[in-house]
């Protein structure tokens, strides 16, 4: 039995006011992978991820996540975990409060998993989340997203604001979690080195278009040189073709 792709978008577009944050995006992201979504600022990564988790609705085109409409109802919401950019948490609420919150809002909440993670990370349960370091807050947000036991975990630049050490720790922990819980992951970043650490599949998004997509092992085999060079070359190609288009129109 083949599972539906975690994300299948066709001609997807999102307009904010007069500006298209994403347009004519057609992409298929296979399930069972840890997918890195990489691209320059303004490529539409965050918009695509927000459309995936149903935080925004598309202006044009269609998107199907795990075979259903994003955020179609409580059941679909339960299947997708999300860690937003800058990992927002309730600043005045404690770590313990956040774990309770996870239990209140998610019928599939895995309390043991959440407690064990918090113990392993050494977070003080009585600490207000506003007083946590960036890395600890990111871990708390990831714990919430993992312990709801989603089929798909979506992370929007989760390590962008972390220092290199916290960054490596977070990604290593993420990689372990993925192995333990057989969850599909889509993770965005603009740093290839971060993605290389955890991902097995890569999608390069430039100006809403998929410039390159494939399993990292295949990409490495087909091309010589580092993955970073490969991605940078793809991005440059993308930016050039976009400016050509701009010149014609």
């Amino acid at each position: 039995m083949t599972e539906p792709p975690v994300i299948e978008a066709t001609g997807l577009g999102k307009r904010f006011g007069r500006r298209w944050a994403l347009s004519e995006c057609t992409v298929t992201i296979p399930s069972g992978r840890v997918v890195g979504l990489v691209g320059p600022n303004g490529a539409g990564k965050t918009t695509l991820l927000h459309l995936t988790v149903g935080l925004t609705a598309p202006t044009a085109g269609t998107i199907s996540v795990l075979g259903a409409r994003p955020a179609a109802g409580p059941a679909q919401l339960a299947r997708v975990g999300f860690v937003a950019q800058d990992t927002p948490t309730y600043a005045s609420m404690s770590v313990a409060d956040h774990l309770r919150l996870g239990g209140w809002l998610n019928p599939g909440w895995d309390r043991d998993l959440a407690e064990r993670r918090i113990d392993r990370l050494g977070l003080d349960r009585s600490q207000r989340s506003g007083n946590l370091s960036g890395g600890q807050r990111a871990q708390l947000a990831l714990t919430l997203a993992i312990a709801k036991r989603p089929e798909l975990l979506v992370l929007d630049e989760p390590v962008a604001s972390l220092d290199p050490l916290a960054r490596r720790e977070f990604l290593r922990d993420l990689a372990d979690t993925v192995v333990d819980h057989r969850v599909s992951v889509v993770l965005s970043s603009h740093l290839v080195a971060d993605l290389e650490q955890v991902c097995d599949h890569l999608v390069v998004l430039v100006g809403s278009r998929v410039q390159m997509a494939g399993d990292i092992d295949d990409l490495r085999a087909e091309h010589r040189g580092s993955l970073e060079d490969l991605v940078l070359a793809a991005m440059e190609r993308g930016l050039e073709s976009r400016s050509d288009e701009g010149g014609r129109s």
């Binding site: 409580p74 309770r100 947000a141």
Partner: protein, 346 residues
């Protein structure tokens, strides 16, 4: 979801309960004394024949507290809108926590309606408890004052409607503007403007005013000039109608035309600026002026009579329920708007 809504609201609830408890203590303690004074003076004034003095002394009792409690009932609904309504959604939009909340296994519609239910209900309870306390505390003053419409929006049901609408105005401003501070400022402006507009243009017309007409009573009349050059006018107080809401008092002829000037009818009335003075007949008036006025009214009264437009005391509760209903209906409409906006526009 209800537990999260409560957890987020908990500290506000504690502050509000504390404030209400403080008001409650003040109200209960001071009312004991008010009842004692009432029983000793006004309640037994008939037998002593000093009712006028007893009443005027009684209504001055705790005057500043009367004022403060009335201010509280007027202001608290607005505060609930500003401090509970406006930040309810705006703070989540501002801090980005809506991205956390809306990606749990709860739809954003349920997230919003639960928050509205928990905090909105609390706003209803706070304003309800406050208005019950103040209405009870003021009951003897209101009874003696015989002017229930004078404190209309500080008693009974109406403050609850005001609180409900102010709260929903706050929430809506937050949803639309997405900024807590801007939403709070907007709430203040909209709430004040709505209240003033309602009092001026809506409340008086909710029910068609009743009309009463009768002969002129010189003992309730006076004459005055608005400026040195304007014609002299006769004025009358309303006839005694306890607890009625007097809308207008006019001196009109049979066809309903109001009296314009009185010099021709009463050439002997003293000129402006004279010692006898103008104004309604309150306090001692020189006998000769009083006699002239009596003559004048008698003469004018052959052609003119008094026409009063008023809302009778018996309609008080109809007005209360109507105003509550209108405010609650407007709040319900805003709930719909917020749900739609959160689902479709955010």
């Amino acid at each position: 979801m209800i537990r999260l809504a409560w957890r987020q609201f908990r500290s506000s609830a504690v502050i509000a309960s504390g404030a209400l408890a403080a008001v409650c203590v003040v109200v209960v303690l001071t009312r004991v004394h008010i009842v004692d004074v009432y029983d000793a003076t006004v309640a037994s004034c008939d037998s002593r024949g000093d009712c006028e003095a007893a009443v005027s002394a009684f209504v001055r009792l705790n005057r500043s507290l009367q004022g403060w409690l009335d201010v509280l009932v007027v202001v608290v609904p607005g505060l609930l809108g500003i401090f509970w309504g406006a930040p309810l959604v705006a703070r989540e939009l501002e801090a980005g926590t809506f991205r956390l909340a809306w990606t749990q296994s709860v739809t954003r519609t349920r997230w919003l309606t639960t928050k509205l239910a928990v905090v909105g209900l609390a706003a209803v309870v706070v304003s309800g408890v406050l208005t019950v306390m103040v209405t009870w505390w003021s009951s003897l003053f209101d009874k003696v004052g015989e002017n229930i419409y004078g404190a209309f929006d500080r008693r009974d049901l109406v403050p609850i409607g005001h609180a409900t609408l102010a709260f929903m105005v706050g929430v809506t401003a937050g949803v639309v503007l997405r900024r807590t501070l801007a939403a709070m400022a907007t709430t203040l402006v909209v709430v004040v403007a709505t209240r003033l507009a309602f009092v001026t243009w809506v409340r008086p017309h909710l029910l068609a005013a009743k009309r009463w007409s009768g002969p002129l009573d010189p003992n309730r009349m006076g004459f005055m000039m608005e400026s040195e050059t304007s014609p002299m006018r006769l004025h009358s107080e309303a006839p005694r109608m306890p607890n009625a809401w007097i809308r207008s008092v006019e001196i009109v002829d049979r066809s309903g035309r109001p009296i314009t000037y009185v010099e021709q009818a009463c050439p002997n009335l003293p000129p402006p600026g004279s010692s006898a003075g103008s104004g309604l007949r309150r306090g001692p008036v020189p006998d000769d002026v009083d006699r002239l006025l009596q003559e004048c009214v008698a003469k004018v009264g052959e052609r003119y009579h008094l026409a009063v437009s008023y809302q009778p005391a018996g309609r008080y509760w109809a007005f209360q329920w109507l105003e509550l209903g209108i405010y609650v209906a407007a709040s319900a409409a805003l709930v719909g708007l917020c749900v739609w906006w959160v689902r479709r526009r955010l």
